[in-house]
Amino acid sequence: MTKSDALFVDEGIKSLIPQRSPILMVDTLYEATTDEATAGLTVKEGNLFCKDGKFTEPGLIEHIAQSASAFAGYSARLQGKPAPVGYIGEIKKFHLNRLPDEGSTLLTHIKIMGVVGNVSLLTAEVSVDGDIVCTTNLKIAIEEK
């Protein structure tokens, strides 16, 4: 996957999600279908969630949540709707293999497993250079207006 073929990168991502610096934790939406998407983040030096040269667990989970948020924003845009504001409702079956190094490029695959009302269940896998660093299920609750 290369950034040049991606759907949205860097500044463009901001049109899909409400989060901003210093907690902007996704920089690329590579591809998206109706129920699957691939997104990414290059962990820059000084990232809010870095400690001792590693990108930590809360950073990984926030990155997954924002990848899902960018996906939801993209889907909404295709339907001519504004990007929704979503919150993490639940983290389930999170498993960490290792913490990525600062400077790594994360590649994250998201699959929507079900939607009921304003809650979506998704499963996510984050990898760095082809190695899976963590997997989790996440529920995102969309803010009801």
Binding site: I23, G59, F94
Partner: protein
């Protein structure tokens, strides 16, 4: 890593063997500049990190969250309206670390229910 997200005010062992932590959120933390602009809401993952740091403080160990069986966020927390929170945690020793079951609450609401595993970072 954020160092000014919260202050640990107190940790008290309870009769049932759990530990009751009391924390104070800092509404001036820079994370709220981006979450969300003009509408400060605690990022769920920052609260997760806060719980980890409470356990680290209690155990005196540096920990990594290796598994989360379940972490439910049952209500939104804003540092403007919920400045003091309680975290009641049952901490048991497990292989290479600790197994923790806990609840975050105040007098009005339950905000987080969590079961997770922490591994000692060597």
């Amino acid at each position: 890593m954020l160092t000014n997200y919260f202050t640990l005010l107190d940790q008290q062992p309870q009769q049932d063997g759990s530990i009751l932590f009391t924390v104070k959120l800092n509404p001036d933390c820079e994370v709220y500049e981006g979450h969300f602009p003009g509408n400060p809401v605690c990022p769920g993952v920052c609260n997760l990190q806060m719980l980890k740091e409470c356990i680290e403080h209690y155990t005196g160990k540096t920990l990594i969250i290796s598994d989360i069986k379940q972490c439910r966020y049952t209500a939104v927390i804003s540092p403007l309206t919920q400045s003091i929170l309680n975290f009641k945690a049952m901490i048991t020793e497990a292989e290479n670390g600790y197994s923790v079951q806990g609840t975050v609450f105040d007098e009005r609401n339950i905000y987080i229910d969590i079961k997770f595993q922490l591994t000692i970072n060597i």
